[in-house]
Amino acid sequence: MKKTYKLEELGCANCAAKMERKIGELNGVNECRISFMTGKMILDLEDGQESEIMKEAKKIIKKLEPDVGVCEI
């Protein structure tokens, strides 16, 4: 299942790279791609685990860049 999220106020390219790596390592995530330039995150997730994964992913994002807002598009 593919999902796209907008990362608002994404301001640091290195942080985006770290987020991409850490979220990509989460269980149930097949692939995570973050484009710093468009501020978009595209996740390829295992079906059915979406809400748990997103909780973890949001934690990672908060930790690296606390001001970033995440919303699904």
Binding site: G11, A13, F36, M37
Partner: protein, 621 residues
């Protein structure tokens, strides 16, 4: 500039002013008290960099020790501890100014590329029961009628049902010449209506419309990363820890082993920390690719990802499909050979004969004739499959068909040697001549191929299902020497495999097709490029690169954009890493001040960003 940036700018300016006052007072020794001067420096420090310190403290809580906020805080607090007050504040000041500039540049380039791709229609004027209602384009169904006024953007693909106008297709094709459309013309979403109000019957939902497809493609392109982007991310992962650990060793070992002045070595270590952020690199590389993709989009070339943009610069071989790529995939009259009759009359008779036929050949003859057919002149018409047509025109029996038909009717005719498609015409049993029909070569195909040679393509191959004679003739006109003809669709994949494996193949291989029946070959090539496919979902889906306006010469433009982007990326990588390593070395031996370090950090970032933004610019052909 966003509100947030403005606020930060004002705050940093106030801090800078206070810092300036502090430096002056210290210089002219206006205030004697050391503590008071430290106080002023501290206040300006917190006004300038309070947010950095705050974030650093918060990050320690979450274990983010290699974070730039933390590193800058350590470096500046350390400078205070070794009594370098002005430098401590200056480092923070320049860091903040650099950050501001960096954010501004990123914001600007995001905006300029967003504007470039700002083709999303906001609304559709739906005509319902004679009234015009403004609706979201995604709420319009297939088959409904929408009104597009001059100046408005066409929101959905459809067929023109009322009015006529010129369309500005530049957003889709990069072509500045307006296109005239009239009743029955297919129109694509994303074009801007220039002159007259028109009504359109929609043929696609918004999600399937050209504009939505293009937007999706462009927006997703920057998430497919090029190798050099991955390299930089990996480099950044190791760079910071290595520099920070070296800094720690630098601060501890020399004073401990040799008893040297610990303040001096501490200063060198702090200088290291200032340079330890890899931001310049991490920002400039994706920015360059983003710019390159955006610049290509503006020229009517859609590239599906940074990886393909990168691969394009290494392309050495191009494989063309003939029909629909080098040729228009559409028949046209190329020669009229009359026999004891006026050429115009021959064409007229042939056009009337082919009036009821829907065959592409018939269409091309009627198109060449160009005048209106008066149906009343035709009394009778029969089509004989495999032979041709027989009509009664102004009382004369007209035969139009192939040589088999002429032989059967015992009409003496000249056999045409070569590969062309020929329609013979006879009037009342007397031979009247023949018309040659060929698949037209695209106007700019020869020029496009010449440009590709100049752009560094070494090997050009043409694949086709056509017979050998026909294929060779087209190839000769275009200057292609390697031709494989009479191939079935499956054979084309095998040929592609062969080319990919062949010994002389050192670079990447591009395949150019129309995306209709060559999807497997498109997929097999290093870069699959589709052209002639605007509005065709199949092409947009199967290809890695789509040329929106069917022009062969856009291929060399794509390669040039790619080479330019890669050049910028390389410059940035070499420049940024070079300066950083250089300043690190100077710092280690005690020759670089913190000022130089700040330059190596923010200054390099700013220069790299400015360089990266060049990638959006136009390229020369």
């Amino acid at each position: 500039m966003t509100k947030n940036m403005k606020k930060r700018m004002i705050r940093v300016s106030i801090g800078a002013l206070l810092f300036f006052i502090a430096v002056v007072t210290e210089k002219i020794q206006l205030i004697k008290s050391e503590n008071l001067i430290l106080g002023i420096f501290l206040v300006s420090y917190f006004i300038i960099g309070g947010d950095v310190v705050k974030r650093a403290v918060r990050n320690i809580g979450t274990g983010q020790i290699f974070d730039e906020n933390f590193l800058m805080t350590i470096a500046t607090v350390g400078a205070f501890l070794v009594s370098e007050y002005p430098e401590a504040v200056a480092v923070m000041l320049f860091y903040q100014v650099g950050e501001l500039f960096q954010d501004y540049a990123v914001h600007r380039s995001r905006k300029s590329i967003a504007e470039l791709m700002d083709i999303r229609p906001d609304y559709a004027n739906l005509i319902q029961n004679g009234e015009v209602v403004q609706k979201d384009p995604s709420d319009v169904e297939i088959g409904q009628i929408i009104l597009v006024r001059p100046g408005e953007r066409i929101p959905l693909d459809g067929v023109l049902t009322k009015g006529s106008t010129s369309l500005d297709t530049s957003a889709l094709t990069g072509e500045s010449l307006p296109r005239d459309v009239m009743m029955g013309s297919e129109v694509l979403s994303g074009c801007v209506n220039l002159t007259g109000a028109i009504e359109i019957r929609t043929t696609k939902e918004f999600g399937d419309s050209t504009v939505a497809k293009i937007l999706e493609l462009v927006e997703n392109a920057s998430s497919r990363k090029a190798q050099s982007e991955d390299f930089i991310t990996k480099f950044a992962r190791f760079y910071t820890p290595v520099v920070v650990i070296s800094a720690a060793l630098l601060a501890i070992l020399p004073p401990l082993l040799t008893g040297a002045d610990w303040k001096d070595w501490m200063y060198r270590a702090l200088t290291f920390l200032v340079i330890s952020c890899p931001c310049a690199l991490v920002i400039s590389v994706p920015l360059s690719f983003f710019g390159g993709l955006g610049g290509a989009g503006r020229s009517g070339i859609l590239i599906k990802g940074g990886n393909y943009l990168e691969a394009l610069s290494q392309a050495k071989t191009i494989v063309f499909d003939k029909t629909g790529t080098l040729t228009k995939g559409r028949f046209a009259v190329t020669k009229i050979v009359p026999h004891e009759i006026d050429p115009a009359q021959l064409l007229e008779v042939a056009a009337y004969a082919e009036y009821y036929s829907n065959h592409p050949i018939a269409l091309s003859i009627r198109e060449a004739y160009g005048k209106k057919i008066e149906e009343s002149r035709i009394a009778e018409a029969t089509e004989e499959a495999g032979y041709g047509v027989r009509i009664l025109l102004d009382g004369k029996v007209i035969l139009a068909g192939n040589s088999k038909m002429m032989s059967r009717e015992n009409i003496g005719f000249q056999k045409e040697p070569g590969a062309k498609t020929v329609i013979h015409v006879a009037q009342n049993g007397v031979y009247a001549g023949h018309i040659q029909i060929e698949d037209e070569i695209r106007e700019d195909a020869a020029e496009g191929i010449a440009r590709l040679k100049k752009a560094g393509i070494r090997r050009m191959v043409m694949l086709t299902g056509d017979r050998h004679v026909q294929a060779m003739e087209t190839a000769a006109k275009l200057g292609i020497t390697e031709v494989y003809s009479q191939l079935l669709p499956g054979d084309k994949v095998d040929k592609m495999e062969e080319i990919l494996k062949s010994e002389e193949n050192k670079g990447k291989v591009i395949f150019v097709g129309d995306g209709m029946n060559d999807a497997p070959v498109l997929a097999r090539a290093d870069i699959g490029a589709a052209m002639g496919g605007i509005g065709s979902d199949a092409a947009i889906e199967a290809a890695d690169l789509v040329i929106m306006n069917d022009s062969v010469s856009k291929l060399s433009t794509a390669i040039r954009i790619s080479s330019k982007t890669i050049r910028i990326v390389k410059q940035n990588i070499v420049f940024a890493i070079g300066i950083k390593v250089f300043v690190l070395l100077l710092a280690a031996i005690g020759y670089a001040s913190m000022w130089a370090a700040v330059f190596a950090d923010v200054g390099v970032a700013v220069i790299a960003i400015i360089n990266a933004m060049r990638a959006i610019g136009k390229v020369k052909d």
